[in-house]
């Protein structure tokens, strides 16, 4: 019986990765809060997780060429979407600073939660390996 660490850790490693990616997108929105014409973006986290689950269930495809479509769980940025602004601004920027900051904070909290789950898994495996 082969031991698969990937399977043991479950979805949480993908969730953590997704959270980091979303943090990056939100940080970019906030950095461009004063850039004229910049459109705020976000990641569809749910779609990302569904993709990760599909990948875990064993139907994932392997890329043999770099120009192939990337179907890996955290691969392409197909989940990146544009936000619909609440109040349009004159210079075409759609970043709502308060909202973005709230989302960033919440994302950081969700990251902590995912981390706790992952940490629990890792400590569990460690305990099992040391036979305690």
């Amino acid at each position: 019986m082969a031991i698969s660490l990937d399977k043991a850790l479950g979805i949480h490693q993908h969730a953590l990765e997704g959270r980091v990616k979303r943090a990056e997108v939100l940080a970019n929105n906030l950095a461009n809060a004063d850039t004229p014409g910049y459109k705020a973006r976000d990641i569809d986290f749910q779609a990302m997780m569904e993709k990760a689950q599909e990948g875990m269930s064993g139907f994932g495809m392997t890329r043999t060429h770099e120009s192939h479509m990337d179907t890996s769980p955290m691969g392409q940025d197909s989940e990146l979407m544009y936000r619909v602004p609440n109040q349009p601004s004159v210079d075409g920027n759609t970043v709502d600073t308060q909202q973005e900051q709230t989302r960033f904070m919440r994302n950081a909290m969700d990251y902590q939660a995912s981390f706790q789950f992952l940490n629990g898994k890792v400590t569990g495996i460690k305990k099992a390996l040391s036979g305690q």
Binding site: K21, A23, E24, A27, L30, A31, A33, Y38, M74, Q76
Partner: protein, 149 residues
């Protein structure tokens, strides 16, 4: 894609905002610099911001991949600093040492109220980027403790 790139993104935001703060300081400092000709008079300076796209930084992702030009982006950059085209203020001050033959002196086209508002906006944006960096730092420190008791 990593937490490290958040540092770059927030860092680029901080650089851009501090440059904006710099031009604002320069504008306010020179708001009352009089001169006798329109060419020599100081003009208000404004930075121009533009978003950096990831594909520019990472050429391997360019080209064939779907939506590659729509990458998550990598912060903000300053395209350049432009001088304001607003009209200079002409004041009649015959006693001024820099007055021209008709007794007029030219003052810069700096709107101090506008500059103050700009200053508030840029310092707030700077703070926000610092907050982002702090959060990213604590997230990163957390991942280093993975597997520890």
């Amino acid at each position: 894609m990593s937490l490290g790139s958040i540092f770059d993104i927030a860092g680029s935001g901080m650089t851009a905002q501090s440059l904006r703060l710099n031009t604002t300081a320069s504008n306010i400092a020179n708001a009352e610099t009089a001169s006798s000709s329109t060419e020599q008079t100081y003009r208000a300076r404004k930075p121009v911001f533009a978003a950096i796209q990831q594909s520019m930084l990472n050429p391997s992702q360019q080209g064939l991949a779907f939506g590659s030009e729509e990458g998550p982006g990598a912060g903000v950059r300053v395209e350049g600093i432009v001088e304001s085209d607003a009209e200079l203020q002409m004041r009649f001050q015959p006693d001024h040492p820099a007055a021209n033959e008709e007794g007029y002196v030219f003052y810069p086209n700096v709107n101090v109220v506008e500059e103050m508002a700009d200053m508030m906006s840029s310092s707030r944006s700077f703070q926000m980027n610092v907050d982002i960096m702090n959060s990213a730092k604590s997230m990163m420190q957390r991942i280093l403790t993975l597997g520890q008791q």
